[in-house]
C-alpha cells in the first residue's frame, strides 16, 4: 500500500508538490470525518463502555457501583448456567461448522461435475440466503412443532426420536438444521466459484497421468480452493458463535437452558433480567473468543493455505 502511495506524483521538490500534500491532508480530514464520527459514537465508545459496564453491577434501576472482577468470577465459579451456555455455543458452532463445510464442499464438487443445470442448482440452494432467518425459523417451527410434519415422519418411519423442540437433548439439533438449511447455500456458492476457477488443464493433465477422480479431488481441487475454504470457514465460525435469531424464534433458549447460546444469553441477561453489567461480562467473553479465533486462524492460514497458483 505504502509503495503505491509513494509512487504517486513526482517529488520534484517544488512548492506545488507541498501544496498538493497540504490539500490532501485537508481533503482527507473532510472525507474521513463522517465515518470517523459515526464509528467513534456508535462503535468505539459503546465497545469501551461495555468493557467498563462489565466491571459494574449496573441494573438499569437503583444504585450501581464498580465490582471489580466479580462478574467474571461469578460467571466462571458460581453460575452453572454459564457453563451450559458456553457448552451449547461450542457444541452448536463445532457441529454446524463441520456440517456446513462438509455439505457445501461436497455439494459444490457434485454440482461442478454436472453437465446440465450447474447455475440452476446453485441458485436453488442459495434461495433462503437472502431471506430473514426469522422467516425460515418460523417455517421450521411449524415443521418441528409437536404433532408437526417432523413428528409425523419420525413415527411413520418408526424412528424412536422424540419431538425435537421439547427434548433437552435434541433441541439444539433443530437449531443446527435450520441454520444449515438457510446458511450453507452461501458457502456452496463461494466454493463453487473457486472450483470453477481451477484451470481445466490441471485436471486434464492429472487425468492423463492416471489420477482417479478421488485423487484429483484431494490432491488438486482441495489444495487449490484452500484459500477460499479457509476464508469461508473463518466467516462461518464467527457468525455461528453469535447465533441468535434462530434460537429466539424456535426455542427462546429452551427447554430449560438447553439451547441458550452466548448471543441469546447476552440478550436474556441484559434485556429480560436487566442485569446490564453481568450481560456485558458475557458479551466480552464472546468478544474474546471471537478475537482469539480470528488470530488463531490467521496464524494457521500461513501454514496450510496454498496461495501460489
Amino acid at each position: 500500500m505504502s509503495s503505491k502511495l509513494a509512487a504517486a506524483p513526482s517529488r520534484a521538490g517544488t512548492g506545488r508538490a507541498k501544496a498538493i500534500l497540504k490539500d490532501d491532508r485537508r481533503a482527507a480530514f473532510w472525507f474521513l470525518l463522517p465515518s470517523f464520527l459515526g464509528l467513534t459514537i456508535f462503535l468505539l465508545v459503546p465497545l469501551a463502555a461495555s468493557l467498563v459496564l462489565s466491571f459494574t453491577n449496573w441494573q438499569l434501576i437503583g444504585q450501581s457501583k464498580f465490582v471489580g472482577w466479580r462478574n467474571y468470577v461469578n460467571l466462571i465459579s458460581l453460575d452453572p448456567s454459564f457453563w451450559q451456555v458456553l457448552r451449547n455455543t461450542f457444541h452448536f458452532t463445532i457441529e454446524y461448522l463441520v456440517l456446513n463445510i462438509v455439505i457445501s464442499v461436497t455439494m459444490a464438487v457434485w454440482i461442478s461435475n454436472l453437465r446440465w443445470g450447474k447455475s440452476f442448482f446453485r441458485l436453488i440452494f442459495f434461495l433462503p440466503t437472502f431471506t430473514p432467518l426469522i422467516g425460515s425459523a418460523i417455517v421450521w417451527l411449524l415443521i418441528f412443532t409437536p404433532g408437526g410434519f417432523a413428528d409425523f415422519i419420525f413415527s411413520t418411519l418408526h424412528l424412536p426420536i422424540p419431538n425435537l423442540l421439547t427434548s433437552p437433548d435434541l433441541a439444539l439439533q433443530a437449531i443446527v438444521i435450520v441454520s444449515l438449511w438457510s446458511g450453507f447455500g452461501y458457502n456452496l456458492l463461494l466454493f463453487g466459484a473457486a472450483l470453477e476457477a481451477i484451470p481445466q488443464s490441471y485436471l486434464d493433465a492429472a487425468a492423463i497421468d492416471g489420477a482417479s477422480s478421488w485423487q484429483r479431488f484431494w490432491r488438486i481441487k482441495l489444495p487449490l480452493i484452500s484459500p477460499t475454504l479457509f476464508f469461508g470457514t473463518v466467516m462461518t465460525a464467527i457468525t455461528s458463535l453469535q447465533v441468535f435469531d434462530q434460537v429466539y424464534a424456535l426455542t427462546r433458549g429452551g427447554p430449560g437452558s438447553a439451547t441458550a447460546t452466548l448471543g441469546f444469553s447476552i440478550y436474556r441477561t441484559g434485556f429480560a433480567a436487566y442485569k446490564m453489567g453481568y450481560a456485558s461480562a458475557i458479551a466480552w467473553v464472546l468478544f474474546v473468543i471471537i478475537m482469539a479465533l480470528t488470530i488463531l486462524q490467521l496464524r494457521v492460514q500461513r501454514r496450510w493455505v496454498h496461495y501460489d497458483l
Binding site: M1, S2, K4, D23, D24, A28, F31, L32, P34, G38, L39, F42, L47, A49, S50, L53, W110, R115, S119, F121, R122, L123, I124, P128, T129, F130, T131, P132, L133, I134, G135, S136, V139, W140, L142, I143, G147, F149, F152, G183, N187, A194, D204, I208, F231, G232, M235, Q242, F244, D245, Y248, G263, Y267, G270, F271, M276, A283, L286, I290, M291
Partner: protein, 284 residues
C-alpha cells in the same frame, strides 16, 4: 470438450445420470420447507396440524394473505423495513465511499494505522455493543424511532474496505488530468470516481439492503410494539398473539421472504459475482 467428457465409458455415463438424479432429489427435499410454508399459508388453520398431514389444502384460501396483512399491521412493518434498510443503505454508501477515497488516494499522517483500526472494527460482534447502544438510545430518547433504528447500524467499515480496493484499480491518470484542469478532490470524487465505481456501489447497496432487511437483534432491542416494527420483528409478534394462527404466520413468512427471493432470482449473476470475489459479503 474436456478430458472427462470426450472419453466417457458406459460406467461414467451411468454415473453422470446418477449425479443428476441425486441432485434433483436433493433439490426437491431442500425446497420442501418453501412448499410447506405456502401450502400452509393458504389452508384453514384447523387443517395445519391435521393427522396425517395433507400435502395440499382442501380449500385454497388465498385470502389468508389479506387476513394476515390485516391481523397485524403488515403494511406498516413493510414500510418500516423499507425505510430502515433503505436509510442504512444510503448512509452506508455515502459514508464508506468517502472514507474509501481518502484511504485509496489521499496522503495524510497515520493513514495506514487508521485503516487498520477501521478494519479491526469488523471483528466486533453486534452482541457486544448492543447494551451500551441501548443505554445511549434511551438516554437520547431514540427508542422507538427511525433515527434509533438507522444511525447506529450505518457505519460498518466493510464498505470502506471493499470500495478502497475498487478505487485503487481506477487509473490515476484520469484524476491527474482533472486536477490540472483545477478540479477539487471532491469534484473528482463525485464526477470521476463514483460514476466509475457503479458496479461495486450497486453490489454494496444490494448486500447492505438485504442484510438490514433481515436484521433482527437491534430492532428487537429498541422497538416496542408495532409502530416501528420491521418485518422480522413483526413476525415474532405473531408468536405472542393469543392462539397460534399458523396459517397467518406462514403467510407472514412468505411475505418476509419474497423480496429476498425475487432479488436473488432477478440479480443472480450479479450476486454470485459479488460472492465469488471471496470478499465476505455477508457470510453465513
Amino acid at each position: 470438450m474436456t478430458f472427462d467428457e470426450t472419453h466417457h465409458s458406459p460406467t461414467q455415463r451411468v454415473g453422470g445420470i446418477l449425479l443428476h438424479v441425486g441432485i434433483v432429489l436433493a433439490a426437491i427435499a431442500f425446497l420442501f420447507p418453501f412448499f410447506w410454508m405456502v401450502t400452509n399459508a393458504i389452508r384453514p388453520n384447523a387443517e395445519v396440524l391435521a393427522v396425517p398431514p395433507q400435502l395440499f389444502p382442501s380449500d385454497w384460501q388465498w385470502s389468508n394473505f389479506v387476513y394476515a396483512w390485516l391481523y397485524l399491521p403488515f403494511g406498516r412493518f413493510f414500510l418500516n423495513s423499507v425505510i430502515v434498510a433503505g436509510g442504512i443503505t444510503i448512509l452506508t454508501l455515502t459514508v464508506s465511499s468517502m472514507a474509501a477515497y481518502a484511504f485509496a488516494r489521499l496522503r495524510f499522517p497515520f493513514s495506514d494505522s487508521l485503516f487498520v483500526v477501521y478494519l479491526a472494527t469488523l471483528m466486533v460482534p453486534q452482541a457486544v455493543i448492543v447494551i451500551p447502544l441501548f443505554l445511549m438510545m434511551s438516554w437520547l430518547g431514540w427508542m422507538n424511532s427511525f433515527q434509533g433504528l438507522i444511525l447506529p447500524m450505518a457505519f460498518s467499515t466493510f464498505g470502506t474496505f471493499m470500495l478502497r480496493q475498487y478505487f485503487l484499480q481506477i487509473p490515476k491518470e484520469l484524476e491527474e488530468a482533472a486536477m490540472i484542469e483545477g478540479c477539487s478532490r471532491f469534484t473528482i470524487f463525485l464526477r470521476i470516481i463514483l460514476p466509475l465505481s457503479r458496479p461495486m456501489l450497486g453490489l454494496l447497496a444490494l448486500f447492505t439492503f438485504t442484510g438490514q432487511w433481515n436484521s433482527f437483534l437491534w430492532p428487537l432491542i429498541i422497538v416496542n410494539g408495532p409502530d416501528y416494527s420491521t418485518i422480522p420483528l413483526g413476525l415474532t409478534l405473531f408468536q405472542s398473539q393469543q392462539g397460534v394462527q399458523w396459517n397467518y404466520m406462514m403467510a407472514g413468512s412468505t411475505i418476509s421472504m419474497l423480496p429476498g427471493i425475487l432479488l436473488t432470482l432477478a440479480l443472480q449473476r450479479y450476486i454470485f459475482s459479488g460472492i465469488a470475489m471471496g470478499s465476505g459479503f455477508g457470510g453465513r
